[in-house]
Symmetry: C2
Subunit: 231 residues, 2 copies
């Protein structure tokens, strides 16, 4: 029984990785850098993107967003006001909805994205600190937003998520004066599970860290290895 | 392909429900009322329990806690200081860990719980607003904690979770003066997805709503239908 179950899980992940590679090939053909952006529900991914994409990115990189939600298009509507291309992807055609995006869901949205008109695609994943980190979707990089309201212990409780990312934005810093929260302890815990990972303290409300985040997005596009897949 | 996938999901849920019923029978034999407590990561479930269980519950009901986490035993350690029986259940023996508790995981912990010495078992689920609502574990009731820092839109984005619960604790009310947050809008959205559901505005920091929550826990135990399963 146990062996069978393990095999099924591996097959499913393999299928996901196969489709993720196909997505990646399509992104390469269009020279699009892709960021998989993850967090717990309500950590502020959309608000941070609203601030970061309100002006052209460094290097004039053009951004687009793929919004993943169980249900609704509220975040996509917010981002559409920025005049960047936004496509909404809902995961609720299961029982209670899927708790993460997988490569096949992202693939189903590719036809709706103007890949040749953007340089950076931000995929805003479903709010969840577990499963989104387990499924590649064809991205170049993964980043997460962690709110200071969530407590210092989250890296230790959800280590795979923190380990999977190359940037951790520590958001809602404007609330620090009102919390019993030790930022140094959080930074220590982040470093324990992902030594040396880049962190940026941010606030979508005050704008703290937003320029640094925009700089990082610009670097992400600039570091892109030119496509090797024939166009 | 699609039909096959649907059938597998139904089988898995059926197995879960079978085991959930077995758990329920065991709880009935010991006359234990069981609450499945859910939330997003960092919404404050543990802190609220610390406040609510710091004194004996109404009717002298004796509480125990089953702590579900992907990894670690930090929350169990916090609650153990209250001198209530606490058992830690980790879900990380998969790839990145399971994002929810299911009936079989709970069943694996039953032997470690002093069921005959408690009247109320609170099962603190893994922080996640999607999958925990899909898996019954043998509970009598489900409740959730929703933090005001998460935004007013969460009921619309994660409707199954809000619909599955008979109590929604709206936590961290002490932060309201520092947030751009419309409490009436959240309450309206909660009522849209789960009309008439009971809500309690709480703060583990100031103690707001904690007495009302303790009263609700006492009612939950008091309303228990006497066991019909032979002992």
């Amino acid at each position: 029984m146990h062996r069978t179950r393990v095999r099924v899980v591996e097959d499913a992940l393999d299928a996901n990785n196969t489709i993720a590679r196909a997505n990646r090939d399509d992104f390469d053909r269009s020279d699009v850098t892709v960021l998989n952006l993850m967090s717990a529900p309500g950590a502020g991914k959309t608000a941070l993107l609203e601030r970061a994409l309100a002006q052209p990115l460094p290097g004039e990189a053009r951004a687009g967003v793929l919004e993943g939600d169980v249900q609704g298009s509220m975040d996509a509507d917010r981002l559409a006001a920025l005049h960047v291309p936004v496509v909404q992807l809902n995961t609720d055609n299961g029982f209670g909805g899927e708790c993460h995006l997988d490569a096949n869901m992202v693939r189903s949205a590719l036809g709706h994205l103007p890949l040749d008109e953007i340089d950076l695609l931000v995929i805003e994943n479903v709010g969840n600190l577990v499963c989104p980190a387990e499924f590649r979707v064809g991205e170049d990089a993964r980043a997460m937003v962690c709110s200071v309201t969530e407590g210092e212990d989250k890296p230790l409780k959800y280590p795979l998520m923190f380990r999977a990312c190359e940037l951790v934005a520590i958001n809602k810093s404007d609330l620090l004066p009102h919390l019993d929260f030790d930022l140094d302890k959080l930074l220590y815990n982040v470093d324990v599970v992902n030594p040396g990972v880049r962190t940026i303290v941010t606030s979508a409300r005050t704008g703290e860290g937003v320029e640094e985040l925009r700089g990082w997005l610009g670097e992400l596009v600039a570091r892109r290895v030119p496509a090797t897949v024939p166009g």
